[in-house]
């Protein structure tokens, strides 16, 4: 059974204080690891897809990396507007649905 575990559940940072969010996964035949951002009252918003170990993708202050067992979302010099819940999900070889982790709630204080 596919499993996705995110840590920490919640993270409080000061503006400018860089950190990383972790996503550990167990899946048969990984066909993509996805990162999403979710704001309160909204649906998840797509950020990145990673396909193979060693791959990295960047967008503004965010950088996602992938190994064979986990993915990290690095946040460099965060701003209050980066506050949100970050979700990771995996797609496996059979079927197209995504299996999501429980999310990390990030709070960035000015």
């Amino acid at each position: 059974e596919d499993q996705v575990t995110q840590s920490p559940e919640a993270l409080r940072l000061q503006e400018g204080e860089s950190s990383s969010l972790n996503c550990s996964y167990t899946v048969s035949g990984l066909r993509g690891l996805f990162w999403y951002r979710q704001d309160p009252g909204k649906g998840p918003e797509f950020l990145f897809t990673l396909y193979s170990a060693g791959e990295e993708k960047e967008k503004e202050r965010l950088k996602a990396t992938l190994t064979k067992k986990e993915s990290f979302l690095h946040i460099t010099a965060p701003k209050p507007e980066d506050s949100a819940t970050y979700l990771c999900a995996v797609r496996r070889g059979a079927g197209n649905m995504l299996t999501f982790g429980g999310g990390t709630r990030l709070m960035v204080k000015p």
Binding site: R31, G32, F34, Y36, G41, K42, G43, P44, E45, F46, T49, Y51, L87, A89, R91, G95, N96, M97, L98, T99, F100, G101, G102, G103
Partner: protein, 117 residues
């Protein structure tokens, strides 16, 4: 362009009543998904439609839940005889299907918040 549209945005119903939730996917997306998000929880897969293929219903929690997709576009999720534990946000997503599906992210609507009293 227009994103995934869901209606209603909020629904309050009495225990035992039936409810219907609607999803309009992004034009041209052949894959459509329903997920459920309970308070403070991650997303739970419910059902997946791909073109004219039989849907993947493996995530539906009970036979009170059903969904259909008419004309390969709009989808309706129906919950019969609602229970208090059905209270959650129901999210719909769509993506490109077919050969492009393996690298196509899901695009979500803003969900329907269902409250069963």
């Amino acid at each position: 362009g227009a994103g995934v549209s869901q209606s209603p945005s909020n629904k309050v119903t009495e225990k035992g009543k039936d409810v219907e939730l609607r999803c309009d996917p992004i034009s041209g997306h052949t894959a459509l998904y329903w997920y459920r998000q309970s308070l403070g929880q991650g997303l739970e897969f419910l059902i997946y439609f791909q073109g004219n293929s039989a849907p993947d219903k493996s995530g539906l929690p009970s036979d009170r839940f059903s969904a259909e997709r008419t004309g390969g576009s709009v989808s309706t999720l129906t919950i019969q005889r609602t229970q208090q534990e059905d209270s959650a946000v129901y999210l719909c997503a769509s993506s490109l299907g077919g050969r492009s599906s393996y690298n196509s992210p899901l695009h979500f609507g803003n969900g329907t918040r269902l409250t069963v009293t």
